[in-house]
Every structure is written in structure tokens, then in C-alpha cells.
């Protein structure tokens, strides 16, 4: 069984937000909800200051504090490491929002459901189609699912996640500078494992002891 993970090379990243916007399209996310974000800040003093860019998403941690915090079992981890939310089991207590040290979870309420991309002008065909073919449930928590649908359907078709476009997360394939690589962390020969080894890629905030599946080259 693989353990799916990702390497983000922030040296390549130009902060164009393609990952975030492609993710929104892939999952028909409502206004102001992001499963992928780009954190932008700076470090150091003028003139030696440097811009700091971190594209972030759910880390699909091995020791996921959200899974531990969930009282109903709605948030669970598959054998391949992907952390998912079962909307039917989620009661919206939001313990996971508090527990996630990376702030990667969003509570989907009526206000978010009613929100329009063009406020006050009604929902577009795009939004209405999304509600029909990729519905969310009000009162539950949502987050990045590593494009599990692409992975599962891709595997069914005999495709290889991380290598074949249709089996790879949307944020990875849409990155115009190839800053994201997806693959099996447990396979020492996979591109992700090699990148982690060669570039000493790091997990964000390792002191949380959650063992994220997303690594960064910086």
C-alpha cells in the first residue's frame, strides 16, 4: 500500500495561485473557501530581506491530530495516508478545526452555501452545476482531499498517481512551474522520495509531531 505524499519546491514557485484556483475549479468550491492557499510574507531586514512563499494544503499527516480530535469518526485516515471527512458522519462540532495545527479546515455553513461569486447577482451556471454534481453538506467540515477521486478513479483505470495526469491531484498538474510533485513516500525510488532525499526537503512545523505527507524544498 502506498503512502501518498507531495513535495513542493518553493524555489520554483512564483506564487501565481494556480494550485489554489485549479483546486477551486476541480472541487467546485464556494466563494472564499480555499483548500489550497499561498502564504506570502517576508523575512529579514532591508536590504537583506527575502520574500517568503509557502503554498499550503492539508498535510495528510500520519499522526493526524484532526483524526484524533474527531468524536464521530467522520474524519478518518485511509491506509494510503489520505485523510478524509465523511460528511454523513460529521456533526459540525469543529473540534478538528481547533486540532489542526496547520489551519487547513473550513466549516461549511449556510452562509457559505448561499454565497455567490458575483454577490447579489445570483448563482452562475458553474456554481449551480457544482451543487448538482459535487455537493457539500451544510454543517460539516471540508478540506483538501488530495484529489482522492482522481487517484481512485485513476488507479481503477490502471493509471499511476503522480505520473499520469488524470490520476494526479489538480494542484500538481496545474502548477505551471512544476513546483509540485506527487507520489508514494514509501517507495524509495519514487520521485517524491528522491526529491526529499536529494534536497533535504522538510515538513512544515515538525515540532507538531504530526508527520505531514507534504514536504518543502526551500
Amino acid at each position: 500500500m502506498p503512502r501518498w505524499g507531495m513535495v513542493v519546491d518553493v524555489k520554483r514557485c512564483i506564487a501565481c495561485w494556480s494550485c489554489a484556483i485549479s483546486c477551486k475549479e476541480e472541487h467546485f468550491l464556494p466563494p472564499k473557501v480555499f483548500w489550497n492557499r499561498v502564504l506570502i510574507s517576508e523575512r529579514g531586514k532591508y536590504p537583506a530581506s527575502r520574500k517568503v512563499i509557502y503554498p499550503v494544503l492539508c498535510n495528510h499527516c500520519s499522526e493526524a491530530s484532526c483524526v484524533e480530535a474527531c468524536p464521530t469518526g467522520a474524519t478518518y485516515q485511509r491506509e494510503d495516508g489520505i485523510v478524509l471527512v465523511d460528511y454523513d458522519k460529521c456533526v459540525g462540532c469543529r473540534a478538528c478545526l481547533v486540532a489542526c495545527p496547520y489551519q487547513q479546515r473550513t466549516y461549511y455553513d449556510q452562509e457559505k452555501k448561499d454565497a455567490e461569486y458575483f454577490p447579489g447577482q445570483g448563482k452562475t451556471q458553474f456554481e449551480l452545476l457544482g451543487e448538482e454534481i459535487y455537493p457539500f453538506q451544510v454543517g460539516t467540515v471540508m478540506k483538501c482531499n488530495f484529489c482522492v477521486e482522481r487517484i481512485d478513479e485513476g488507479l481503477e483505470k490502471g493509471l499511476a498517481p503522480g505520473q499520469d495526469r488524470d490520476a494526479t491531484p489538480a494542484c500538481v498538474i496545474s502548477c505551471p512551474v512544476g513546483a509540485r510533485v506527487f507520489g508514494d513516500l514509501d517507495d524509495p525510488g519514487s520521485e517524491v522520495s528522491q526529491l526529499i532525499k536529494v534536497h533535504s526537503a522538510k515538513q512544515l512545523r515538525p515540532e507538531f509531531d504530526t508527520d505531514p505527507a507534504v514536504y518543502y524544498i526551500d
Binding site: D9, K11, R12, I14, A15, C16, W17, S18, A20, I21, S22, K24, E25, E26, F28, P31, K32, F34, R37, V38, I40, S41, E42, G44, K45, Y46, P47, S49, R50, K51, I53, L84, V85, D86, Y87, Y117, F118, P119, Q121, G122, T124, Q125, F126, L129, G130, E132, I133, Y134, P135, N145, V148, E149, R165, I173, S174, C175, P176, V177, G178, A179
Partner: protein, 867 residues
């Protein structure tokens, strides 16, 4: 957590071309149940990012289709009063009524002078084009040159000086590093490879690979954001002072280190050309060619005399020709540079002298002068250093000299269009195998390239300044202007009168332009157009339409467009600068047009027919594509729509593969390596010594004498030199900061502000919607993050915005991204977001580059808290 597959009755991908900026990346759009839902890049194509990559604003493109604010029927102003803040009181009219009124007015104006019609477009519509057809179109109406072409939405983002020298040096519109082979890149006010500029994602993809290879990237920029933020070495600089630093570097390289690529200078520049005391070339009386001295035969010969070996061109010494003392013009370079010391440049630019020296020496060290590289069996000079510039450094009063000084670094080490060096791209467009239509540059007078295609006023052969000027842009006088900004000059009435320009604009026929808010002083643009009949084709009613528009015609977005020509003609700024195959993409409709919207090319054809110039336009098309097959030529009297015209031209361009190309939505074919690194295969020379400026100066001096016009002619000097930008001159104790603008990776001019996806992302970027200011400076001024401040120029124009402090910004500047501060009622997402930089740019003639008519894009300002 899964798709309801049972509810999906259609799920297809359509290959097309992105239209979110002018780069024209190959994309595919997913349509589910008839609804465009997702955009990805095309992994098969080199036009764009890595594999299926597409940038954020490209990915966000579906929202242009879904925007309920799209115009659905032609609109007509019913309120005769015009201006900012005046309700146009639109009423919907029929296409027939709209086109009848437009063509009737046009016919009437044409009886008088067609130059009174301003044909214009917006550069974001390049790939959403065909971008270049407004130029042919204007020609069909009897307008020569493009002096009527007042650049619209691109405006201050456009690069007269960069394009002029791109054309003269590279036969190309733009320059980029040869990412694949370079080791050391210096960027000046350019974000090539970090999200902006031509072929943005192609360059970003190539740069990302180069970064992993370990290249060094030095960025001179007022702020540490897009280019600076990704640099290995960000060096803060003041806007408009890049040439001071570049000249000091050249001085150190040539005069202190004594280094230059002698063979390159002798073989590929005009530096061996002999000049007399007054700086003009000594010419052969019969051929009119410049003369050179052959060291081997000790004779003066024509520069193109094939008996001279490359190494035998004299670069120094004094000679005699017909009793007159003459010298190779290279002898003037060293003495001219001597005045530009690193210490002098530090005082002007804020860049420490030791940094200037260090970068100069690193540049030489990495250039590997004399080395060669063999690629695919072909051996080329290898110069793995590239220095590129674009809008930031060239958009100044001293723009041409800024670009020329930066280019001189390439010239000294021979890094022009060779592996690892600075590439103009592509100067060449080879024909598709089995097809026709080829565009090759020619070697013109004095050995200088004549570009294969240039969108506008050709840079070579040089046009002689003359009067009377026949149209509003006055390119007859500003003969090096690529896209004239003169119509926006405050003193335009006086200029027009003195230059005998009688074609005062009476009508504007624009494609999605927004020149009121995107040029400079808003009122200067309103004054230009308020008495004109302004017709626009766009997908929304923008600020310009609301202020001065008379008829607004609903255009289709690129998601609804069936356009065979999207990139055929834009090849020279949408392709890959690297050794990658040619790709030409089409635009295929993903969805039906919104409302009654029509593709502007079909509207163009309809109007041309009504006005009676369709045959002429069709003839121009036949000639442009060089159609020789009589069956494919458009015949007199034929009235074809754009798709029908495409049936003919596609057959000519792609031959038997026409259907295959149409089906896949793009064409691809091999680019020979000699077409990438063409420099040493083409007997051309770079006009680094800009002798033509001496002649221009003489002619313009006479014109000024005759007309009473006062013009600053100090920059009509043949060697790259330092000239203080107007903005810099206007600094004083009260107006103590320089405001500048920059391109945000999320935005293309102002259109992207109306995209809700981009709007959401922008709101999460600390700098996009704010006014940036150095943290220490802010403290001194008493500002903190979130404060609302005014930025005001000395002419009382001011703009309000929210403070965001940052360490990574020069301590004497304030930065504003792009073209925010919008107010059109029909673009509610955009309304009120960010700040508008353009409105604080003064528009007096002294703020324009006297060589190209390019506007100064930084401004001396004071900043203070809003009450």
C-alpha cells in the same frame, strides 16, 4: 465526497488558447453538461507552463464566461454629457442600428480624413485576438503607420523603448534569457520567468528548471516581490536609475578590467564603422554603406566587403578618408563610459559602489568570453550570461538609453542570441512543413535587421522625422515611437498645431481599451475623447466606456471564440525563446456566445463592408499571408466571415495538414537550432552606436526652428548615456518619494480585477491591493499597516490606498500594483479594489521619452494620512 457521475451527461475537453493575458498559452477547457468548469495547460505544447500547468489567472479564465455583468446587447449612450461620474444612461439597441450608425459616421469622417478615426486595442487581447489585425484594419481605411493607434489598456505597461531596441538588436519584440544554457541572469525592472512579460509561463517553466540547475539570478528592482523575491541576489534600486548602474558596470568592464569580446564586437556590431569628428558615419559615395578599416590590407572598405576577415575590422586607430580624419566609432565608447564611475552611480541609484563592481566582475567571469558549445552538431559561441529588461526600467523619460545601457552589457561580452545569452525571440518564423507563410527578418541598410513582423511603426530602416504630421500620434516626428503616447500629452493641441497635424480625432474604434484609467492623468484622456464618438467592443462596460463611450458592442470572450488566427501572427511574442519546437494554437469555442455577443473580427468585417473598404482589407490579408494560390486568395467583391477566411488561409499556412491542425487545435513543427541561435548565421550587425539619432536631431532641430516647437533633444546621442528621469528631477523636500507600479502575477492590466477567483486570491496577497512602503520609512512617516494614505504628485493629482509595510522595498519609493482603483458600475467585483497608479502620472511633454514618446512611469510624490 465524490462526483455524482450519474448526473453528468457531457464531460469533454476542448483545446484552445488562453486569453487571460497576451502570452497565449496552450490550454484545454473542460465542459461538463454544457458548462465550462475548468482550465488546464496543454502538456503537448511548449506554449505555456510545465506539462498541464497554467498560471492562476489563466486557470481563473472560466469566470469571464460566467460573469453576469457581460454585455449582452449593443448599448448606446443617451446622455450627451460625458465625463467621470456622469451616468451614460445606456439603452440597448439592435446590432443593425449600432453598425449603421458606426459605419455612417465613419464614411462621413473618411470623406474628410480617415486619420481622424483612432483604431486602438488593448494588449490583454493579444491572444484573445487576433491582436495585430487592428493595424491592417486601419490601413484598409487609408491610415498609414499607426500614429492613430493610441495604445489603450496596455498603456503604461507598454514598452516603446524596449520594443524599439528589441527590434533593432534582435529583430524581435522582446528579450529573455536563454534559460536552458545560462548560468547568470541580471534582470532590471523585468519579471521574465517569474510570472510576467511575454511568453510568461513558457519563461517561468524554463526558469524553474534553470533554478533547479543552480543559476544565479541578480535582480535590480525597487521591491523584493515577484522578480526580486525569487532572486538569488535582490538589489534595491530607484526607478529610472538602472542605466546609471549599467553604465558604471560597462565602464568597469571596459575601462578598468579592459575586457570585451573583440571578435563579436568586430563581427556583429557597428562599432568598427568609421566616423568623422561630428560622430556621423563616413559612407561610400556610391553604395552609401558605412566604411570600415581593414587591418590586414590597411585599406578603408565597405562594411560588408567580404574580403575582410572578422578579426581584421579595426576598432581603434585614426585613419584618413578623402583628406578627413576618421575613427572607428568604438573609440568613442571607452571615453564616453569613463564619466560613469561606480561611486557616481551609487549616489544616483542607491546601489552601493562595491555591489556594482562585484556584479560587473561576476558578469565577466560567467560570460566565458571565447568559449564555444556544440549543440546537435553545431558549434556556437557560448556566453552563459543574460541581462534583460522590460517595462520597469524602460518606462521612463530616459527609456531608450536605459535599454541601450543594459544591452551594452550583452554587447561587451557577445551574449546576444547565442547559447546561454540574451535571446530576442523569435526573430524567425519558419513555414509549417508542407505549408506556406514564412516570416524571416532581412538585413537592411547599414547591416541592421529589419524585423520579420513588427506590430506597429517599424524600427528599421529609420524613418526620417518630418512635418506635417498626418495623425494624432505624430509618429512622423517621433519616428522611433512604436506605439505613440502623444495623444495623451497635455500640450497636444499646441503640438498638433505646430506640427501641422490637422486630423484632430473625431472617432475612436476600440477593442476593450480602458485608456482613461490606464494611461496617466485621467482628465488628459477624458479631454482627448469627450468630443469624439467612441465605439468599443468589449465583454463589459469598463471605466472608459462609462466616461466617454457612445456605443458599446458585446464581444465574445476567448471561451466562445472560433479563431483560427490567434497565434499565427502573434508568433513573435508568444512562442518559446528556447530550443523547443514551434507551437501555434487556435481558439476553439468551448461554449455558445453570451447573449448577442459577436466576435470582433466578424464585426470588423461587417463594418468594413458597410464602409466600403472590405476589398482593400481582404487584399491586405492576401498580401500579409503572401497567398499566391489564386483559389485561396480572397477575391474582390467576396464577403466572407472570419471563419470562412480562415478556411482559405489555414490551407495556405498548413497545406494538407489543415484539417489535422484544426482538429487538434494547434500546430507543432520542428524549430531548427539555427533559428534559435541565428546571430552568427545572419550577416547583420547590432546598431549599438545609434548614429541615426544624430541625423534625427539635426532634422528635428530644423523642424523646431521652423515651427516654434520646443523639444528636449539632449538624448539624441549615439551612445548609451545617463539622462536624469523627469520623476527624479522633480524630487524635493516636499515631494520626497518616487512612486512606481509593477505587474502582479495575478493581474493583466485591469481586466483581471473583475474576475472573482483572482479577486479572492488578491485579497489574500499582502501587496496586491495595497500601497507598499518600506517599514523604516513608514515608521518615520508615522504610518502602520492598514492606515489609509494619499499619494499626491506636485500637480495635485492624488490616489488613496491602504498601507502595507515591507522590509523588501527601497526606502525612497512607494509601490502600487497594476491598475486598481476602478469604478465602473458594471464591473462590481473590480470596483473599489486596490489603487490606481496611472492617475498620479503627470502627462506633460517633459514626462515623455523624447525619442519614443513613451511616458515616464514613476513620479515624485508626497504621502500623507487620509483624514
Amino acid at each position: 465526497m465524490t462526483y455524482k457521475r450519474e448526473k453528468i451527461w457531457e464531460d469533454v475537453w476542448v483545446n484552445t488558447t488562453c486569453g487571460a493575458c497576451y502570452c497565449g498559452c496552450g490550454i484545454r477547457v473542460r465542459r461538463v453538461n454544457g458548462v465550462p468548469v475548468k482550465i488546464e495547460g496543454l502538456p503537448e505544447s511548449t506554449m505555456g507552463g510545465t506539462n498541464s500547468g497554467v498560471c492562476g489567472k489563466g486557470a481563473a479564465g472560466i469566470m469571464y464566461y460566467h460573469d453576469p455583468n457581460r454585455i449582452k446587447k449593443p448599448l448606446k449612450r443617451t446622455n450627451p454629457e460625458k465625463g467621470i461620474g456622469v451616468d451614460p444612461k445606456w439603452k440597448e439597441i439592435s446590432w443593425e442600428e449600432a453598425l449603421d450608425e458606426i459605419s455612417t459616421r465613419m464614411k462621413k469622417i473618411m470623406e474628410d480624413d480617415p486619420n481622424k478615426i483612432l483604431f486602438t486595442n488593448q494588449t490583454m487581447r493579444a491572444s484573445d485576438g487576433p491582436h495585430n489585425h487592428p493595424y491592417f484594419y486601419a490601413k484598409a481605411f487609408g491610415i498609414e503607420d499607426n500614429g492613430c493607434f493610441i495604445i489603450g489598456g496596455g498603456s503604461l505597461h507598454c514598452g516603446n523603448a524596449a520594443h524599439m531596441l528589441g527590434g533593432l538588436i534582435h529583430g524581435a519584440w522582446s528579450v529573455a534569457p536563454d534559460w536552458r544554457y545560462t548560468k547568470y541572469v541580471i534582470k532590471w525592472g523585468s519579471s521574465k520567468g517569474t510570472g510576467s512579460g511575454h511568453s510568461a509561463m513558457t519563461n517561468a517553466r524554463l526558469r524553474a528548471d534553470a533554478v533547479r540547475r543552480g543559476i544565479k539570478e541578480v535582480v535590480f528592482d525597487p521591491m523584493c516581490n515577484f522578480a526580486g523575491g525569487k532572486a538569488t541576489d535582490w538589489i534595491p534600486i530607484l526607478p529610472g536609475t538602472d542605466s546609471a548602474v549599467a553604465l558604471a558596470m560597462c565602464n568597469h568592464i571596459l575601462n578598468s578590467m579592459g575586457v570585451y569580446d573583440e571578435l563579436y564586437i568586430k563581427a556583429k556590431t557597428n562599432f568598427p564603422y568609421l566616423i568623422r569628428e561630428d560622430g556621423t558615419f563616413v559612407r561610400d559615395p556610391e553604395t552609401e554603406n558605412p566604411l570600415v578599416y581593414d587591418l590586414k590590407n590597411k585599406k578603408i572598405k565597405n562594411f560588408d566587403d567580404e574580403s575582410i576577415a572578422d578579426e581584421d575590422f579595426a576598432l581603434d586607430g585614426e585613419y584618413e578618408y578623402n583628406g578627413e580624419k576618421v575613427w572607428p566609432c568604438f573609440t568613442r565608447l571607452g571615453p564616453n563610459l569613463k564619466q560613469y564611475t561606480a561611486e557616481w552611480a551609487e549616489k544616483i541609484s542607491t546601489v552601493p559602489a562595491e555591489t556594482i563592481i562585484r556584479i560587473a566582475e561576476e558578469w565577466v567571469e560567467n560570460a566565458q568570453i571565447g568559449s564555444t558549445i556544440t549543440i546537435e552538431g553545431k558549434t556556437f559561441p557560448y556566453r552563459p550570461v543574460a541581462t534583460v529588461t522590460f517595462r520597469g526600467s524602460q518606462g521612463h523619460y530616459n527609456g531608450v538609453h536605459q535599454v541601450a545601457a543594459i544591452d551594452l552589457l550583452n554587447q561587451l561580452v557577445g551574449s546576444e542570441d547565442v547559447p546561454g545569452g540574451t535571446m530576442g525571440w523569435p526573430a524567425i518564423r519558419r513555414k509549417y512543413p508542407g505549408g506556406q507563410y514564412e516570416r524571416l527578418p532581412r538585413v537592411g541598410p547599414d547591416g541592421v535587421l529589419i524585423p520579420a513582423v513588427f506590430y506597429s511603426h517599424d524600427p528599421w530602416p529609420p524613418h526620417e522625422p518630418k512635418v506635417p504630421c498626418k495623425n494624432a500620434g505624430c509618429v512622423d516626428l517621433w519616428s522611433h515611437s512604436t506605439l505613440s503616447h502623444v495623444p495623451y500629452v497635455k500640450e497636444r493641441e499646441e503640438i498638433w498645431e505646430k506640427l501641422g497635424m490637422t486630423a484632430r480625432p473625431e472617432m475612436v474604434f476600440g477593442l476593450a481599451v480602458n485608456f482613461i484609467i490606464s494611461q496617466a492623468d485621467w482628465q488628459a484622456a477624458v479631454d482627448l475623447c469627450k468630443d469624439c464618438f467612441v465605439v468599443q467592443m468589449d465583454i463589459w462596460v469598463n471605466e472608459t466606456d462609462q466616461a466617454v463611450g457612445d456605443i458599446i458592442l458585446p464581444d465574445v470572450s476567448w471561451l466562445e471564440k472560433d479563431c483560427w488566427s490567434s497565434e499565427i501572427d502573434a508568433f513573435f511574442f508568444s512562442g518559446s525563446p528556447s530550443y523547443e519546437d514551434w507551437y501555434v494554437h487556435m481558439q476553439k469555442p468551448v461554449a455558445e456566445p453570451i447573449g448577442e455577443s459577436r466576435f470582433f473580427m466578424d464585426v470588423y468585417l461587417d463594418v468594413a463592408h458597410r464602409v466600403g473598404v472590405l476589398d482593400k482589407y481582404n487584399e491586405l490579408l492576401n498580401n500579409y499571408y503572401g497567398i499566391e494560390d489564386e483559389d485561396l486568395k480572397i477575391k474582390p467583391g467576396e464577403k466572407l466571415d472570419w471563419k470562412e477566411i480562415g478556411e482559405r488561409i489555414m490551407r495556405w499556412v498548413y497545406g494538407p495538414d489543415k484539417e489535422k491542425v484544426e482538429e487538434q487545435g494547434y500546430a507543432t513543427w520542428h524549430k531548427p537550432i539555427e533559428d534559435v541561435y541565428w546571430r552568427w548565421y545572419m550577416p547583420s550587425r547590432c546598431p549599438v552606436y545609434m548614429e541615426f539619432l544624430i541625423h534625427d536631431r539635426r532634422k528635428i532641430e530644423k523642424i523646431c526652428q521652423d515651427t516654434g516647437l520646443e523639444l528636449d533633444l539632449s538624448q539624441h546621442y549615439p551612445l548609451a548615456s545617463w539622462y536624469t528621469p523627469t520623476s527624479y528631477q522633480e524630487l524635493n523636500d516636499e515631494y520626497d518619494l518616487l512612486a512606481f507600479s509593477y505587474r502582479d502575477v495575478l493581474h493583466t492590466n485591469n481586466t483581471t480585477f473583475q474576475n472573482p477567483y483572482i479577486d479572492e486570491a488578491s485579497a489574500r496577497c499582502p501587496y496586491t491591493f495595497t500601497i507598499t512602503i518600506n517599514t523604516d520609512l513608514a515608521k518615520k512617516k508615522g504610518f502602520k499597516d492598514g492606515d489609509v494614505i494619499w499619494v499626491e504628485n506636485r500637480y495635485a493629482a492624488r490616489e488613496k490606498g491602504i498601507v502595507k509595510t515591507m522590509q523588501g522595498q527601497n526606502h525612497l519609493v512607494v509601490g502600487i500594483a497594476g491598475q486598481g482603483g476602478l469604478w465602473a458600475d458594471k464591473r462590481p467585483i473590480a470596483k473599489g479594489k486596490g489603487s490606481n497608479f496611472c492617475k498620479i502620472l503627470p502627462s506633460y511633454l517633459r514626462h515623455y521619452d523624447p525619442l519614443t514618446g513613451n511616458i515616464e512611469t514613476s513620479v515624485a510624490v508626497k504621502v500623507y494620512k487620509a483624514e
